[in-house]
């Protein structure tokens, strides 16, 4: 059964294995007329790339994207946009001696249970390299969203119990943890270094936000905006929890505390005084900032010796060699942003069919204001 596509109107399909020939993706449904070139996509891929810093895996890949179709004279034409990144630094030999063992916390066993066969080299399709296609597709989604004024950004909110105390958007890309609090970032980096030295890994929380989302996106029942965001985030490797707005904290609130009063904004539009709802009510965007948090487990690949079994179920001891991240958090940021962008781009287009009489677009409104 196909399971490698995401979205209904703006649809991304990714393909490729960690140690195969290449990884890539196709975006089908991107409207015609969007300005697009490889630089915008490369920028996001560079943010995602490994080997960026001492807190990440040491695999060296330039991850250079090539657009193979769908663009003509610098603009999308409405046809599928195919993109490819060839693999260049795959060291499969690292995996030779563990190919019959089930790495704890990894998909080796479940993959065998499902398919009966498995490309064991570098995690195959379950490798983080699969997310290259997501980030490439998400880069296009961001460009589409930018045409209506939507801005998406994410950051490392917490590493263990170390929480950013300040959200300074300008700080995010300045430190290798992508933490919006410079001071806490320094503490985080120390802790990651220590984990690496003790051959261990660390979990944490990433937060992603979308500003400027028009009210009205999302479908009220199964395809609620939060449902599609939930699916998007839980489809990222290592994610064990997702929350929006107040999230799990709502369990401790009363209705009278949690309801956000509606108010007329100075520009005449309707908004809420507070934003505990996180930008979505009844599955539909309110126009307030969308806020999502995702909990990432500590990477399963650790160099410590661990107990496990082989494919026959015989007890075995395993040491996972290779070039692994002691934390995924900074690299998770662009991936989570990409997934949020994909959901919003999809629903932006879906919204165009909600009414017999289409509501005026952003561009129409700008024209009217002239």
């Amino acid at each position: 059964m196909p399971g490698n596509s995401f979205g209904h109107t703006f649809r991304l399909t990714t393909w490729g294995e960690s140690h195969g020939v290449a990884v890539g993706c196709t975006v089908d449904g991107c409207p015609a007329g969007l300005e697009l070139n490889e630089a915008a996509i490369q920028h996001e891929l560079d943010r995602r790339r490994v080997g960026q810093s001492k807190v990440s895996s040491q695999r060296k890949e330039p991850d250079t994207v090539q657009i193979l179709s769908g663009i003509f004279e610098g603009r999308t034409t409405g046809t599928p946009i195919s993109m490819v990144v060839f693999n260049s630094d795959a060291k499969s030999s690292h995996y030779d001696n563990i190919k019959h063992l089930y790495r704890p916390g990894h998909a080796d066993y479940t993959w065998d249970a499902k398919y009966g066969v498995r490309d064991w080299r570098g995690g195959g399709r379950s490798s983080a390299r699969e997310t290259i296609g997501r980030v490439a597709g998400g880069a296009i989604a961001k460009l589409l969203l930018a045409t209506v004024g939507v801005h998406i950004f994410g950051y490392t909110l917490a590493l263990g119990d170390l929480y950013a105390r300040v959200i300074d958007e300008d700080e995010i890309e300045r430190n290798i943890m992508r933490c919006p609090d410079a001071e806490v970032a320094a503490e985080m980096i120390e802790r990651v270094e220590a984990a690496r030295r003790s051959l261990d890994s660390l979990g944490g929380i990433v937060e992603v936000r979308a500003r400027g989302v028009p009210a009205g996106l999302g479908e009220p029942v199964f395809d609620k905006l939060q449902a599609d965001i939930g699916k998007a985030m839980f489809s990222i490797p290592a994610i064990k929890g997702v929350e929006m707005g107040e999230g799990f904290a709502v369990a401790n609130l009363r209705g009278s505390q949690n309801n956000d009063p509606f108010v007329r904004r100075t520009d005449g539009s309707i908004g809420t005084v507070t934003n505990r709802h996180g930008g979505i009510l009844g599955g539909i965007s309110t126009g307030e900032e969308i806020i999502v948090r995702l909990a990432a487990k500590p990477p399963a690949s650790i160099a410590q010796s661990q107990e496990t079994v082989d494919q026959q179920g015989n007890p075995a001891t395993i040491e996972v060699k290779g070039r692994h991240d002691p934390t995924v958090l900074p690299r998770l940021v662009p991936i989570a942003e990409a997934m949020l962008a994909l959901v919003l781009a999809d629903h932006l287009l879906r919204q165009r069919t909600a009414r017999v009489q289409m509501p005026p677009t952003h561009a129409d409104r700008e024209k009217l204001e002239l």
Copy 2:
């Protein structure tokens, strides 16, 4: 854009408004040959029904389900199963005086922003009555899952900071909170009563589990089992957070603590010593128990006076009359079970196409063991 269907191979479509003629659903893709009658579905609907107890809304509806198609001589035929529940106790007059006001925490404003029109009677399609179709469809999914030995159950884990300390499955249906800890249930009921008296509402956490899920369900990329479960749970009204296995707690763990060692079980199959992963690795089921928690916000409908605006953005004060739940938790249990059942039934069928040579089915294995 359609948004009222869930699932790819086992697909549920729901329809209907709170104060319309009826609510209902169609299940398309249920395999032929499943024993099915209205009693099994009615049983689940009765669990979901309002007016059950002093902790729930006082709306009285028998919610009697009628199967209109897809069954012949007590078995499914492979054709769509259409089910309907006629609405009988709709009191739209309760909503007359607030139809132009935006209830805080509700979908009134976003609905207008999306569609330009809205059935304001009883919340229209955003009413909890929409979940009748989910529970009816989920009841069939449960029957299908039972044929391979899957058992699903849920319960109220926490009301505010009151957490069940014991998980006694037998206790769940004995108390009106559906709390698996009789002692804590009593405390919860007191707290709900107090909230009702103070015209307020309370949030909490529901936990759902699936036992006996065969290893191998779920697709490794976008349609990961946790991604589809995440979408399913976030599509339920009022849910602001979802987590699986250790959930948000993974943010505080090290890889060496969080990885579950593999082991050969006494029956020869492969399992894990611990189950911090919550039954899913790499998006695919491991055969261990699947564990999901969802955080429900306090119901937005409270009888207290609240500040808001009308459709024109003019400030207004609102008091939401009607028959509302001070907590959704006990009614949320069968809904969350239904959604988990729908996801698992879908992936159970999807798994049948994973291999050129189909793996033997449960029934085949039983035959071989004879």
Copy 3:
């Protein structure tokens, strides 16, 4: 696997068996704000109904439609529109003595091969009653299309070698054959009467047209407008051939004969001098009239004695009793119209996402012209 839905943005799902409780459908994705009431749908159902005339089956069903959801104050709300028609004149006893026999030309055998079980009463889900849901859904599609000026109509073009020689749209509904040529209609009726007397049935050709279709509908590769129309028509029971524009006659043409020259119309828009292409080029509508022809086999149910086998493969003789049509042509007309309307409504909405900058709508253009 679900197979009872049609369309991507405007999606119809039908359900129900010939001798079950009811038949019906759900339309998901109809935009909000469309004026709609039961009369418009009933009108189309009445056109489809059996027992209309001496050329059709004598089963008497009022086929009264009830809308159960999706409408508020005479307009669609954007939520699913559920419709039901209860079965009232089902005479299952007619089928009692043939339930273990495979009727030649029918789906009895293939149904058993597929599902292992079968509702043998009146053809179950393979009955022509299934098309009630199509006609009801198509009626809504027609209303949506009418808002942009699309008009769809069909007629009986040929019964055997009797071809309409004149296409007089006003004549169509005046004769029971729905033939646009009054003279030929009379000959057709005679021939049908003769076939009925000889316990036989007759095939023929229906033609359907759509006028006013805006240029630009259809996707250029797999979801070409002709591909979706082809699927729509071949999904109607008894259809063995479909052609558009010149159809099979193109096999005998040269490029220089078949190409339609482009020309500027008097209103400034671009069109073609001739319309051999039938309104679609490269899978996309040109704005010229869309013309589709479908060949319907003679109904398989004939009262003559036929050779066949029973479920065990034993030879048997069968006489198919019941109330059957000697020709399906007049009843096929509203069904084919409905299917064409469903395809066009779907692509009308799909077209709204083709460009970053949406092209102005019909309504916008009207406004601009004021």
Copy 4:
């Protein structure tokens, strides 16, 4: 809106423009464990390739396929199979002087009407090069079908009024018309040569057959086997008519002539004495040979001078240079085979979810027979 994918369980997505960097496709949903290498795919691409003979376009492309993912140790792994063919002989200069003109019979105008922009080089996405992805995907579908004994083949049935009088399967690949009748093939070639000399093109009919299709494939309502085959065939460029079994000839038949009597075959299975139904009844395969015919229009690209308009609607004269086919028939054969294979592979997998208790597979049956 995406429109570049085909199939539900076995899903092909194609991408690429005639004069872009490359064309290619992704197959998602191919089961794990299928033996696969590039040679099998290259074989089919070579059959489709232009420059094969004097009856085809003179564009020279090796069309060498590269598999980029989804294969490990000579077998599919269940992950998406990405394939690419780089473009090498694109001569865009041929199109420079006609880029603002609308070629009669082509998609230039409709493309502009839809997207507002268009890659005019070589027909862009509407070029026959798009079908490379279909043939590559179809090659995999054929391999999957071969595991259960399905064999697909096609041929040129008619060029104009020249019809093959003999269907000799061995002859098909021996002549450049792919006509199964050697004598008629020679006449066809002469006629094509004459058409080329007169700067014209010719239409015709291709027939495709599938043998060994198990009974039970296809869904009884919208996703009837003939509906999906109809869509598949009409999605091929230049197709104006499709028929199955007796096709349009049914219009002239009586039920007593057209019904195929059921019979027990010598191997105990059930079949029909005749095969006027063309292997499908009620949308489901009967096990008899599936027979499809498609009418292809004469290629629109002719070197004769033609009347048309430019993008502004101004009258213009056009001469379409470039390397074009005077007939598409021989190249259409592998494309039509590929599309039929895609439909059957999809429904072969879909059938696995039709029953609670899966029917034994081909492999199981073989095992039982041992």
